[in-house]
């Protein structure tokens, strides 16, 4: 199996300690800047940052599957939609506004779904895996879109404001989204990033990389190849569904379009934009994508053209993504 730059990388952990320190410092500066954002950023930028935090969570999970296990899914928007619809069902149908419960439920639902879907999907790799995930994703999308009596069809379902840690907050929707909800999202991002980091440095994380680089050899050495892939699939789905809850809350609506295949394409886009080769790359990709997308939307009617051209340029000229470029500039091995 030829795995080249796009699903390659992760060797960075063996880079020199000096650059490790540099990465650590950069991460620290980045986190401080995010945490202090409400003191200097505009309300509008803050809503974008909340969206960024949600996508960063999704991409951290997505990259466990793409970057570390070497499986390209074109169906993960399905799990984002699953998270958003769980939030909708809990807040507007069942009247349970506790965000913690919603997150747990979304994680459980998506884990169960991903387990069942994964059982079929992980038997294949490469293009067949991509197409099978696309097929499942579109099946779920058409369920959301067509079964009005369950899902509200193309109208979607409303998501009302949830309680964070059981507390209601004063002020309107914007104050909620840029205040408590923003910090809540950041905290979730921090916790989930830490968990993902620990996971990738655990034996399971090593198994994933072994399976990515050489499945036969991994199997020979006693790694359960399919079980490892299934784990990666389920974990990435849980991350995406948690992101879906957050995205749904900030939009206020669970919309079937969240599950359309082009959204899965955007997930891949963001991950590749940041670079699959490093742990933080996808987070960077989410940041660049969210702001770039918004800026292009505001500046030109033809933002899709520009986005598409950027994607083409990245694939052709910088397959290691923005993170690869940054590392190149910092003198790390590119």
């Amino acid at each position: 199996m030829t795995v080249d730059a796009i699903v390659h990388g992760a060797e960075m952990e063996t880079a020199a300690p000096r650059s490790g320190l540099l990465s650590f410092l950069l991460t620290l500066v980045f986190c401080t800047a995010l945490a202090a954002a409400p003191y200097y950023a505009s309300t509008y930028a803050l809503t974008l940052l909340a969206t960024f935090a949600a996508y960063a969570i999704a991409l951290l999970g997505f990259n466990i599957l793409l970057g570390y296990t070497g499986l390209l899914s074109f169906g993960h928007a399905m799990f984002i939609a699953m998270g958003a619809y769980t939030a909708a069902v809990f807040t507007s149908k069942l009247g349970i506004p506790y965000l913690e419960l919603i997150l747990l439920a979304a994680a459980a639902v998506s884990a169960a779904a991903a387990f069942l879907i994964g059982l079929f999907c992980v038997r294949y790799t490469k293009i067949f895996f991509s197409m099978l995930t696309l097929a499942f994703g579109m099946t779920f999308y058409s369920f959301l879109n067509k079964f009005y009596f369950v899902t509200g069809g193309d109208q979607g379902m409303r998501i009302t404001r949830p309680l964070l840690a059981g507390l209601d907050s004063a002020g309107g929707k914007t104050a909620f989204l840029t205040g408590p909800f923003y910090y809540y999202s950041l905290a979730l991002l921090a916790i989930l990033a830490f968990l993902a980091w620990r996971l990738l440095h655990s034996p399971l994380g090593l198994h994933m990389r072994a399976v990515r680089d050489n499945p036969q050899k991994a199997a020979y050495l006693g790694v359960k190849v399919q079980r490892t892939r299934l784990w990666a699939f389920v974990i990435s789905a849980v991350y995406c569904s948690i992101a879906g809850v957050l995205i749904g809350i900030s939009v206020g609506l669970a919309d079937p379009e969240l599950g359309y295949w082009t959204q899965s394409g955007n997930l891949v886009f963001m991950t590749v934009l940041g670079g699959t080769g490093s742990f933080g790359g996808p987070v960077l990709g989410a940041l660049v994508f969210v702001f770039l997308n918004d800026w292009l939307n505001a500046t030109t009617e033809y933002w899709r053209f520009v986005l598409g051209a950027i994607l083409v340029a990245i694939v052709v000229f910088a397959p290691r993504g923005v993170a690869g470029l940054v590392h190149g500039l910092l003198g790390k091995k590119a």
Binding site: D4, A135, K146, G308
Partner: protein, 293 residues
């Protein structure tokens, strides 16, 4: 009885159009090993361009009855857009397939705005063409002659393509290139020219498909993404890279979709994808694909 005939012929009409697109997809995948997400964009491009071409034709004062050859010609003409696109794809032939998939996804996004730039956001229809050849009555059902023409055209194109690939000298070289690019090159085949020709031909199949589909429906910006879903379903059901598979897949998808729309419209896409999943689980290489995972 009437309803059944209606449904079957409607399904076959749709299948005929889908077959062209899927055949283009298969041709490109078979030879170049690239799964082209932008095939839906080519389809939409063909549809929009055909509307403009037929509008230009009527503006010149030609009778509407000439629209069928104009459709075919405009589809073939705009298919030439494949040449510059292939230039771009050339940069990633030797790379991982996820790169290729992403590159075509980028092209899909770009084409979306190219279509919008030239034809606007509102759906466009071709006025007065669909029923220009009248209808025939068979078994109590009114069938537009145009539908039969498209089904016939698709069968003829399928036959020509099959004969060309199986019998002609160039077809043999193309198949050899598909089997083993380096060996074909070593034996003197001009692979880069073959790739350019094959991709453009695949592109033309897509644009002609779009041109032939548009008189019966409307061209809209949702076309590319929706068509890809169906074209992929066909390719997976039939087997990646297999032309006969594309034919079988197109007929299955066309008929299933027609039955679903007539009897249980909620399940239109769902039914197609349940078949896809079933096929992938039972025969991952597709019904007529070579057994290799």
């Amino acid at each position: 009885m009437t309803a059944w005939l209606d449904i079957v012929l409607g399904g076959l009409f749709h299948a005929a159009v889908l077959f062209l697109v899927a055949a283009g997809l298969q041709l490109v995948f078979g030879v170049q090993k690239i799964l082209n997400l932008a095939c839906g964009s080519f389809y939409a491009l063909g549809a929009y361009f055909a509307i403009s071409a037929v509008a230009a034709m009527t503006a010149l004062g030609l009778p509407i009855a000439y629209f069928f050859p104009v459709l075919l010609a405009s589809g073939l003409l705009i298919g030439l857009v494949g040449l510059p696109v292939e230039r771009l794809l050339r940069t990633v032939y030797r790379r991982d397939e996820s790169h290729q998939l992403l590159l075509t996804f980028g092209l899909l996004l770009m084409f979306q705005d190219i279509l919008r730039f030239f034809w606007g956001t509102a759906p466009r229809t071709m006025e007065g063409a669909y029923l220009a050849y009248g209808t025939v009555t068979a078994g109590g059902a009114q069938i537009p002659v145009y539908n039969l023409l498209v089904i016939a055209a698709s069968i003829v194109l399928a036959g020509m393509l099959g004969l060309f690939l199986q019998r002609s000298a160039l077809g043999k070289v193309i198949r050899a290139t598909a089997e083993n690019r380096d060996m074909a090159e070593g034996l003197g085949a001009n692979v880069s020219r073959i790739y350019a020709a094959v991709f453009t031909a695949g592109c033309m199949l897509g644009t002609v498909g779009g041109a032939l589909a548009v008189p019966s429906s409307a061209a809209s910006l949702d076309m590319p993404a929706e068509l890809i879903v169906e074209a992929f379903a066909i390719v997976v059901i039939g087997g990646l890279g297999s032309m006969r598979g594309a034919l079988l897949g197109a007929v299955i998808v066309g008929l299933v979709r027609a039955f679903a729309i007539a009897n249980y419209p909620e399940a239109e896409v769902l039914s197609i994808y349940l078949i896809v999943i079933a096929v992938l689980i039972i025969r991952p290489a597709g019904l007529l694909g070579k057994a290799q995972a």
